[in-house]
Assembly symmetry: C2
Homo-oligomer: 506 residues x 2
């Protein structure tokens, strides 16, 4: 069954934005989640495929969401103690440089895009388009780090990277994507370890407090580790189709890159030491996670903290010029009153949907599809009664407000929607988190229930591989610090050494 848009009035004839077309194409999540995702991305004007395989155009509405996430991250990076600073390293990495850290190059070699010609000539040495920047950065750090006084280096860059993936999907996996990559160098193991976990927690904060997406912080198993890392940590979120999405990773790289690129420093003890490294990144993939964590059968549901438009006012046209004029005047006044207010320290983003070729019903549906947190409808009768109807996107709840006092209520309502979406996602995750004690239970829960399934694990990669091959589920995370689960491994029955949480993942 296709979703029925909330329409009214005459049949839709033609509009370049083709709203009805977009709404009619939206399948329910239950019916076909991948198709729902694709149609929401298209219909809400977030992004589209571009010509080079697996690349995408991020459209204004999608890019504004990314900007809000980016700014929230960037502010937090700059306000740790000590703070991080932004830098920019080149897109092109000479191929030989990549080959120095063995695990790293093995991990990335199959996905590289390579420039062989430039300026009309064949290059003496091919240039790799960065898939990530550890190699060029640690080669540079070898010149920047001479003494313990030069440490720590706490740098981040916002950049595009390229990984030639075979199966791509808008935002979730594209051959080129936008991201940030933090690369830090430290004097001691402890400092680097703390940094790894500090930045993981920054990711959690932005996911939960800004994107309203609850996440688990955990450690990855060896098979899911970043190539070249000693430990990889991740934040894992649950999507509405009960699949998990790895939403950000923070790597403790030990001294691997310092050894590969000869980053040594004169220590406090007068001896030479290799520096300790971390790297951490999140990408435009987060936008995909946002869509799938909150969306419903009507479209997006955006938390106000990242919504490009937080409040949409829809004027309901009157019958006479006088009625139209009254409504327009009241709407303009209301918009200005709301725009003069701030929420979370920035002016509220309010818009009037004054497109004169669309009926209110289409505007309602469009606002829902785009996930705008609050919609305010004002008609002439409302104007006469000095009231306005506000509709929350997260719950669909309507309430009437006095027209003059409406702007007073907006901040509280934005708080409500922000909290409502988070609580909803937490409840969904709780309802879809299970425990298994036996392999049969694990298999059945993964096949029938989906979501996160936690159980005891012996720590053996064979058991991990067996679950994956039989169920397609992978271990999404084990606890940050290994802990005795006090029960036998759900797969093999040998003593458990860790709690593992499985899920089918993107």
């Amino acid at each position: 069954m296709r979703h029925q848009p909330n329409t009214e009035g005459a049949p839709y004839e033609h509009h370049p934005n083709d709203i009805l077309g977009r709404l009619m194409a939206l399948p329910t999540q239950a019916e076909d989640f991948p198709a729902w995702y694709q149609e929401v991305v298209r219909g809400a004007d977030l992004a589209e495929n571009s010509l080079a395989r697996g690349t995408m155009v991020i459209k204004p509405y999608g890019y504004a969401i990314w900007e809000a996430i980016r700014d929230a991250l960037d502010w937090r990076f700059k306000h740790t103690d000590p703070p991080h600073e932004n830098v920019y390293f080149p897109l092109f990495i000479p191929q030989r440089l990549l080959e120095r850290e063995k695990e790293h190059v093995e991990g990335f070699a199959p996905e590289l895009a390579v420039v062989t010609h430039a300026g009309g000539e064949e290059l003496g040495e091919p240039l790799v388009v960065r898939p990530t920047s550890e190699t060029i950065i640690w080669d540079t750090y070898s010149r920047w780090v001479q003494s313990y006084r030069d440490l720590p280096l706490l740098y981040n860059q916002w950049a595009n990277v390229v990984r030639w993936e075979l199966r791509t999907r808008l935002f979730l996996r594209t051959t080129e994507f936008l991201w940030q990559e933090g690369h830090t160098a430290h004097e001691t193991r402890e400092e680097a370890w703390d940094e790894t976990l500090r930045m993981l927690d920054v990711y959690r904060q932005v996911a939960e407090d800004v994107m309203a997406v609850p996440v688990h912080m955990g450690r990855k198993t060896a098979s899911e580790r970043f190539p070249g890392a000693d430990e990889t940590f991740a934040i894992e979120a649950l999507m509405r189709d009960r699949k998990a999405l790895q939403s950000g990773t923070s790597h403790y790289l030990g001294q691997n890159f310092a050894h590969a690129y000869e980053v040594q420093f004169l220590g406090r003890d007068g001896e030479q030491h290799y520096a300790y490294a971390t790297s951490w990144g999140v990408s435009t993939r987060l936008v995909g996670g946002l869509i799938m964590a909150h969306g419903d059968d009507t479209g997006l549901r955006l938390p106000p903290a990242v919504a490009p438009v937080q409040v949409m006012i829809v004027p309901i046209p009157g019958k006479t010029d006088e009625e139209v004029g009254s409504v327009q005047g009241a709407v303009g006044k209301l918009r200005d009153a709301i725009a003069a207010r701030s929420w979370r320290g920035v002016p509220i983003r309010v818009k009037v949907d004054d497109r004169d070729d669309l009926r209110p019903g289409y505007k309602f549906a469009d606002s829902e599809l785009r996930g705008i947190p609050l919609r305010l409808d004002l008609g002439f009768r409302d104007f006469q009664a000095n009231k306005i109807t506000v509709t929350r996107r997260d719950t669909g709840q309507k309430q009437e407000l006095g027209l003059d006092a409406a702007s007073d209520a907006i901040e509280g309502l934005l708080d409500d929607v922000q909290r409502g979406l988070f609580d909803d996602a937490v409840a969904f995750r709780e309802a879809n988190s299970h425990r298994a004690s036996t392999f049969d239970e694990l298999r059945q829960l993964i096949a029938d229930a989906g979501g996160f399934v936690t159980g005891s694990w012996c720590g053996d990669a064979t058991c991990e591989a067996q679950v994956k091959s039989e169920t397609k589920a992978t271990i999404r995370f084990v606890p940050l610090e290994a802990q005795d689960p006090g029960a036998p491994c759900v797969v093999c029955g040998r003593p458990g050494v860790d709690e593992a949480t499985w899920a089918i993942a993107y």
Copy 2:
């Protein structure tokens, strides 16, 4: 003669940042301007060359300057009426797409970097790394623009681009650089024309009001036009070596790209029309312009609006623990008092140079090299006398302030430095702007005086080429609207049709 740093105390032994080494290496501008530029970029930790030919690493201090310029531009793009929105188009452009606009591809073909292999295989069609994005954007616009109701499209992107230049110089000309590129589509010629000039003026505002660099707005001659443009406008600034720097361009593209990529729309008249285009961009080159427009023999001079650190407090160590403690306490209090204040709407960026392995003299020289607008020195005797010395970087002027009231004075002093640098640059430009009536005068002024030389021009490319071949000077701009200069062409003596301003340029 090498610049003598302002040092005191014992000889400099070792410091990883090697400040004395950096200062001693700084030649005067008069002696060797290119070497001065290179040493300032290195010494102030702005950027360095990276491994792939012509690429650069932008270091934290240099990147923070770029961020300030970027934010000033981004805010203005988003606050025009109607506003611009940010988008992101892919890095890779299929080669065939580039070939559709003939002039455009001819202009960029010699500079392209090409990906021929990806994912371990040779690509069926090579992918060009974008040198600019008109082609991929206008191909996409052909699907976005159907009706006049879809117009205007007012989009901008922040991105990296690659142009395989043979002679590169940090910030001024690098094979990869960071920039923004605006790409707009309009219903009418007039609208597109207005947009072209509106964005040129936004560039002027940021150059003058933020970077404190006075610029001329003008039109380019046909030989200096962007490949594919009907008209190119630019802002032109004068550097301290009396060479001109093209600092930003705004192009009126007419219907050229609409024809090449079939961007047609249903007009208000019911007919199909081709859309009108503009594009406009500024890049990290602006950082190079900032350095060369304001720097002096001691290093950078940064306008407060783009300075990563606006105020540096240097504590002068006392002789006893009590003295050291008093100074530290006062410095901390002063820093907090200044940080609690705002200038131009954002908190003042203040730092204490508390490096314990450096003597004050080195810190003074370092602060000067980095161009920090205000320096506050506080020693124990100052503390006892309840005063502090403030030094302006732009003029070198010192004044004493009451310690308790010092923070009250900072906003005014930042205004003074911002205005001082602008006025200084205006005065320098006026002193280096000349008029020529004959070819002999033109030749002599360019050879001996440098700077901008204005004269009458017949509009003929032959005269333009002759000046270039004999003097190396190019026409930097003609007035925005052609105007009768009322005098014969300085080159050939035929009737002048326009005023031209020549200079030797970067």
